[in-house]
Amino acid sequence: MSYLPYAVAAWICVVGLFGVATSRNLIHLAICLTVTQSSSYVLLLSVGYVKHGGAPIFKGTKPGSTAVDPVVQALTLTDVVVSVAVVALILALALDAHRLAGTIDPDGLADVQG
């Protein structure tokens, strides 16, 4: 059962992808994308966790005491910013789509076809 955290991450990813593919609303879809991405945070922080380890902040503790991996935390920070940037862009596109087509249902937007 020590694999539960990873299973949670995989679950979130699958659930998020389901939401993205079946969404009827671009704003809803953008939020589903953030859910999909949250699986990568959960996975990153889980793989960097060290049993009985403290946060990698050595104020008051001496360097060298057991601490969790700081690298995954730095990566997560970047990931969060990426997610904000992408959500902002997709929402802006959703607003444009709504202004032009009167709908934010991606299925109804299929203006261009192959």
Binding site: L26, T36, D111, V112, Q113
Partner: protein, 599 residues
């Protein structure tokens, strides 16, 4: 010369910050000068880097965080001739596109320039980076810039819809990529590519590594618009402004392939068994080349046609990479060089047509550009270069791929570029010569157009298109280029030397003296190249004069080709939910294939 690599990122990014930051306070000519100067300086430095990477990888450890005891601490750029060459092409294409857009894009020009420069810096960073997460960062930066640039023409629904599909599909890919990074990091505790490969070489490939590889490579294949991840490409390229298309189609799509090659030869080659990883890539490449070539032939919208032509060449290049040999990779490189310039040139011509006539539809433009000899010559010459007529354009790269490919692969790859070339030839003949029928139901319904008027400096646009096409055509006959591409490929594939230099600072063996002559190609390639040209011309004529074919021929054609064509059109539905579904399907199937082959 290890100071050059960071500059290729820093200069464009700083210029992007300056140009958008000082939008309201500096006069326009100065702004234009800053933008073009930054892009030109980046390009010039890329060529200097190419020259100085001849003998060894140019390694730059950011912040001076060198390796300690074989453990990489910081982030490195490790640049060999292949990566440096990529940066050169990226720089040239972006610079041309920026000059082209000086008069082409007036509205919101500063924001446009800032995003183009950010994309330039990101693409260079991606080509040079030696760190897995750093690759992700540059990938996201170029993607975010590209999404916004695609939706640039916000007065119309098409661009917005194209940008939505592009953004959502690619973001899904990026997030799968991020999960792949986390998995691989959990297994190895490293992010540096050299170190990752070294760590994996010691263990056996378990499920973890196979799945991580699937997620990482599929993330790149989505960026690279490989079937079945290609659906977004036509939607996005059809609607973006011409200079943006030139950058997206010419270099940014191919970036995904460089990612695939980089990850394979620095990391996953260590866990490959009998080239199984390459086999899957080869298959994907063949399917992509043929399917996208067919789709190109079914388009009437010039930029959609070009988009599928790009995807079909992506397929050929991916197949070259998937062969896993030195010549295959060198061939992919040379195709990239020629294809980037030619595609950019053709997009530039399409932009001129759009500006002249307010239309971008093959049938609607029929005969309207008669007498525009220079654009016509550029278009037709570029098309011939993209087919791979002997010693023109992508021919040399194609012939190198032929050398290492199995006999049954070669005609399929030539078929892909011939199909795409036939489509472009047909469009060119119809638009510039007025040949062919005025209507063709096979090509689907017309697209909404925006008749916009722009105050353009036409000679400048034509000049840039001619320069791009001319440079692309010459790639096959530049003396010594073929040998250097082979040497660059050999260096790129040498994981041992790469690891030794990046992690331990060991020098590389000195480069051999390379002859300066045009590479000799085999008779087979000459025949295939000639055959592909003849086939493309014949097919183009058949497309133009379909109605005049004997009745029984067209009836048989309709019976056999009609249903698959309708299925193809239906699959490219423009609905983003479908695209994401195909992304998931593609990832799962590719992963299953690798799981079976690598077990």
């Amino acid at each position: 010369m290890s100071w050059i690599p960071p500059l290729l990122v820093a200069i464009p990014l700083l210029a992007a910050a300056v140009t958008a930051g000082l939008d309201h306070v500096t006069p326009e000519p100065l702004q234009d000068a800053i933008v073009v100067a930054a892009a030109t300086a980046t390009t010039a430095l890329a060529f200097l880097l190419l020259w100085s990477s001849e003998g060894h990888e140019v390694v730059h450890w950011f912040g001076g965080w060198q390796t300690r005891g074989g453990v990489a601490l910081g982030i490195d750029f490790a640049v060999g001739p292949l990566a440096a060459g990529m940066c050169c092409v990226i720089g040239v294409v972006v610079t041309l596109a920026l000059v082209y857009s000086l008069t082409f894009m007036k509205e919101a020009a500063r924001l446009f320039d800032a995003l183009m420069l950010a994309a330039l810096g990101a693409m260079c960073g991606f080509a040079m980076s030696g760190d897995l997460f750093n690759l992700f960062v540059w990938l996201e930066l170029m993607a975010v810039a590209a999404y916004a640039l695609t939706g640039f023409l916000v007065e119309r629904l098409g661009p917005v819809q194209g940008a939505v599909n592009f953004a959502i599909t690619n973001t899904t890919g990026s997030y799968l990529f991020a999960i792949g990074i986390a998995l691989l990091y959990a297994r190895t505790g490293a992010l540096n590519l050299a170190q990752l490969g070294q760590t994996l070489a010691h263990g056996r490939a378990g499920g973890l590594v196979v799945v991580a590889m699937t997620l990482l490579l599929c993330g790149f294949l989505i960026k690279g618009a490989v079937v079945p991840f290609h659906l977004w490409a036509a939607d996005a390229y059809a609607v973006a402004p011409a200079p943006v298309c030139a950058v997206l189609g010419g270099v940014m799509t191919d970036i995904g392939l460089i990612g695939v090659a980089r990850l394979y030869w620095t990391v996953f080659v260590a866990v490959d068994r009998g080239g199984a990883i390459g086999d899957v890539l080869l298959w994907l490449g063949i399917v992509t080349a043929v399917l996208a070539g067919t789709m190109a032939f079914l388009q009437r919208h010039l930029k959609r046609m070009l988009a599928y032509s790009v995807v079909s060449h992506i397929g050929v290049m991916l197949a070259g990479i998937g062969l896993l040999g030195m010549t295959g990779l060198a061939g992919a490189e040379l195709i990239f060089l020629a294809h980037a310039l030619l595609t950019a040139g053709l997009f530039f011509v399409a932009g001129i047509l759009h500006a002249d006539h307010g239309a971008i539809d093959e049938l609607r433009l029929r005969g309207r550009a008669r007498g525009c000899w220079v654009p016509a010559a550029a278009w037709l010459a570029g098309t011939v270069g993209l087919v791979g007529t002997p010693y023109v354009g992508i021919y040399l790269g194609h012939s190198l791929i032929d050398e290492s490919a199995a006999a049954w692969v070669v005609p399929l790859l030539w078929l892909g570029s011939a199909l795409a070339g036939a489509a472009l030839l047909r469009a060119g003949a119809r638009i510039f010569l007025g040949w062919g029928d005025a209507d063709d139901p096979l090509l689907g319904k017309p697209f909404e157009e925006d008749p916009h008027e722009r105050d353009i400096l036409r000679p400048l646009l034509v000049g840039i298109a001619v320069v791009a096409v001319g440079a692309g055509l010459a790639i096959s006959v530049v003396p010594g280029l073929g040998q250097r591409a082979e040497y660059a490929a050999e260096r790129f594939r040498d994981r041992g030397a790469y690891v030794a230099q990046v992690l331990r600072g060991r020098p590389m063996p000195p480069p051999p003296a390379l002859p300066v002559s045009v590479l000799h190609t085999s008779l087979d390639s000459l025949l295939y190249g000639g055959g592909a040209t003849v086939f493309a011309v014949a097919l183009a004529l058949a497309g133009l004069y379909r109605r005049r074919l004997p009745n029984f021929v067209s009836a048989a054609g309709e019976r056999t080709l009609g249903p698959p064509v309708r299925v193809l059109h239906a699959l490219h539905s423009g609905v983003v939910g479908d695209y994401v579904t195909w992304v998931v399907v593609g990832t799962a199937v590719t992963g299953a294939a690798w799981a079976i082959l690598l077990r």
